[in-house]
Symmetry: C2
Subunit: 78 residues, 2 copies
Amino acid sequence: MQLKVQVFLKAAVLDPQGKAVLGSLHSMGFTEVGDVRVGKVFSIQVPDGDPETVKLRVEQMAAKLLCNPVIEEFAILP
Amino acid sequence: MQLKVQVFLKAAVLDPQGKAVLGSLHSMGFTEVGDVRVGKVFSIQVPDGDPETVKLRVEQMAAKLLCNPVIEEFAILP
């Protein structure tokens, strides 16, 4: 099975890449866009198993390697 | 409302960053991981509206700015 880990900068942390994308979207005519945040996503292939166990294991991967808890937060998606 | 655009390299395109993460996970003991792909995710804040119209608009943003269709593909998530 495949799980996705999304990692974003915390809301309180300035996201200059997001601001740059926002500026580009505005200048291309997408003026309705209010804000953009840019993050990373990891698509992780793991063997099938008990969903709770697998999710816990992927949470450990996120906490130990994929996410810097000082400035980032993560979410696990199917 | 907020929509997310996930951008990954196409499956046929080598993802060295994913391979590096895979190697790190293996060396940390997460040996069950079969593959990792790394992508970008854009969280886009747009005004509420007809969901189909909003999604179409975000698709245009993805196709014109966020995704390089030569080597990448995108998906729009709630």
